[in-house]
C-alpha cells in the first residue's frame, strides 16, 4: 500500500506550490502527472515482476550517483538506510559510483564517416569484491547501467546477452532499460528546472 506520493520532480527540484515554476509545470499537466506515474510504475508497481524493489533502487541510486546528483542519489538510496541490515549495500554502491565516474556521452559509431567522431572512454566493470557482495544479476545490471548512462552508442546485442546470462529475463531487461533511461530523463528535468527556478527568482528579485 502506498500513501499518495508527493510529486518527485517538484520535490527534488525544490518547486513549491504557487511558485513561478509551479505555474509553468501546470501548463503541461499531463507531462507532470505522467512523469510521476512513470516513477510510480517503476518504483511502486502493483507487481514487481522480474525486478525486485531492491534491484530497482540500487540501480537508480547508482545512475543518480554517476550523474553526480547527491540529492537524487539520497532519494533512491534511502530505503536501504531505513533498514540497518542493508547498510553494506549502500557502501558497495557508493564505492562503485566512485569507480564508475566518467564524462559522457562517449563511444563508437558504426563503421563509416562518423568514425571520426568516436570517443574513447572507460569500460566499467564491478570490482571483484563488490561482485561477490552484489551477486551476478545486480552486478550485470550496474555494468549495463553504466553503458546506458555514459556510452549508449556502444550498446550491442552482446551486452543484452550478458544480462540474460546473468539471470535477467527479456521482460526484466525491458524494465531495467526503462528504469535507467527514465532516471536519466528525471535527473535532467530536475536539474534543468532547478536552474530555471533559481534564474526566475533572481529575475523577480
Amino acid at each position: 500500500m502506498t500513501i499518495a506520493s508527493p510529486d518527485i520532480i517538484d520535490l527534488l527540484a525544490g518547486i513549491t506550490a504557487g511558485s513561478a515554476l509551479d505555474r509553468i509545470r501546470a501548463q503541461r499537466p499531463e507531462a507532470r502527472e505522467q512523469a510521476q506515474k512513470s516513477f510510480l510504475a517503476l518504483f511502486q508497481p502493483t507487481d514487481f515482476g522480474d525486478v525486485s524493489a531492491a534491484e530497482r533502487h540500487a540501480v537508480a541510486s547508482f545512475v543518480a550517483g554517476l550523474h553526480r546528483q547527491p540529492d537524487i542519489f539520497e532519494f533512491y538510496i534511502s530505503p536501504f538506510e531505513e533498514r540497518g541490515t542493508d547498510r553494506w549495500l549502500i557502501e558497495v554502491i557508493k564505492a562503485e559510483i566512485g569507480a564508475g565516474r566518467a564524462k559522457g556521452p562517449y563511444g563508437h559509431y558504426p563503421d563509416g564517416p562518423l568514425r571520426g567522431e568516436n570517443e574513447a572512454g572507460p569500460l566499467y566493470q564491478v570490482s571483484p569484491a563488490s561482485r561477490e557482495a552484489l551477486g551476478p544479476k545486480l552486478s550485470a545490471a550496474l555494468e549495463h547501467a553504466h553503458l546506458l548512462v555514459f556510452h549508449l552508442r556502444d550498446a550491442s546485442p552482446q551486452a543484452l546477452q550478458v544480462l540474460l546470462d546473468a539471470g535477467w529475463t527479456t521482460t526484466g531487461v525491458v524494465t531495467l532499460s526503462q528504469l535507467v533511461s527514465f532516471v536519466a530523463f528525471q535527473i535532467r528535468v530536475i536539474a534543468g528546472l532547478a536552474v530555471l527556478s533559481t534564474a526566475a527568482k533572481r529575475a523577480a528579485a
Partner: protein, 200 residues
C-alpha cells in the same frame, strides 16, 4: 531457462545522420501481436502501435510504456502555449545528435524540418554536429539541449540567460528542458534495444 538476444543481419545499415525514413529492428523478442492482452493494448495507448516491433517490445512492461507515451505526447504535442513544435523537435534532434542515436535523430529531424521549413539548417545540424551555426535562436536551443544531455549535465544559468536573450520566456525554456530531457530517455532505449535499418 536463459533467454537469447537477437543479432540481426542488417545489409547497408545507416551509418550517417539522415532525415530519410529509416527503420529499426529489435535485439530482444517483442511480444507477438496475437499475444497482446487488454493490459498490453492499454499500455500501447494507440492500438496502431501494435504494428511496431519497438512498442511491442516495450509493452512487456505496459504500465511504464503507457506513462512514458503520455509524458512524450504532452511534451511535444501540447503546443497551445509555449515553444513552437519545430523547436521542441530541434531540442530532441540536438540531444539525439549528441548522444549518437541515428534512428531518433532521423525521425525528429524530419519533424523539425517539416514544422520549421528550415530543412537545410536541420541537415546542417545532422552533418556538422552540435557546433553547427544555425542562427542565434537555434544555436541557443541546441547549446542548452547539449548541456543538459552531457553526462553529468552542465546546464547552467548561462544557458537560461542565452535562451532568454534569444526571446524565449520561462515556459518556452521549460519546453526546451523537457524536449532535451525526454530524448535522454528515448535515445537510451532506441540505442540499446535494437539498431537502425535502411530506408526502403
Amino acid at each position: 531457462m536463459t533467454e537469447h538476444a537477437i543479432t540481426p543481419t542488417v545489409d547497408n545499415p545507416p551509418v550517417t545522420f539522415t532525415q530519410a525514413e529509416i527503420g529499426w529492428t529489435p535485439w530482444l523478442q517483442p511480444l507477438a501481436e496475437e499475444d497482446l492482452t487488454e493490459r498490453h493494448i492499454k499500455g500501447l495507448v494507440e492500438a496502431a502501435r501494435a504494428k511496431s516491433p519497438y512498442f511491442r517490445l516495450l509493452v512487456r512492461d505496459p504500465e511504464v510504456l503507457e506513462a512514458r507515451t503520455k509524458t512524450d505526447k504532452d511534451i511535444f504535442y501540447n503546443t497551445r502555449l509555449g515553444l513552437p513544435r519545430a523547436e521542441r523537435e530541434l531540442a530532441a534532434t540536438a540531444a539525439s545528435r549528441y548522444n549518437g542515436c541515428i534512428f531518433c535523430a532521423s525521425v525528429h529531424s524530419r519533424f523539425a524540418s517539416h514544422h520549421s521549413k528550415r530543412g537545410g539548417d536541420v541537415q546542417k545540424l545532422l552533418d556538422e554536429g552540435v557546433e553547427a551555426d544555425l542562427g542565434e535562436r537555434w544555436n541557443a536551443i541546441v547549446a542548452a539541449s547539449v548541456a543538459l544531455t552531457a553526462t553529468p549535465p552542465i546546464f547552467g544559468e548561462e544557458h537560461v540567460s542565452r535562451l532568454s536573450a534569444a526571446g524565449l520566456d520561462e515556459l518556452e525554456i521549460a519546453d526546451v528542458i523537457h524536449g532535451a530531457a525526454f530524448f535522454n530517455w528515448a535515445n537510451r532505449l532506441m540505442l540499446s534495444l535494437g539498431e537502425p535499418t535502411p530506408a526502403n
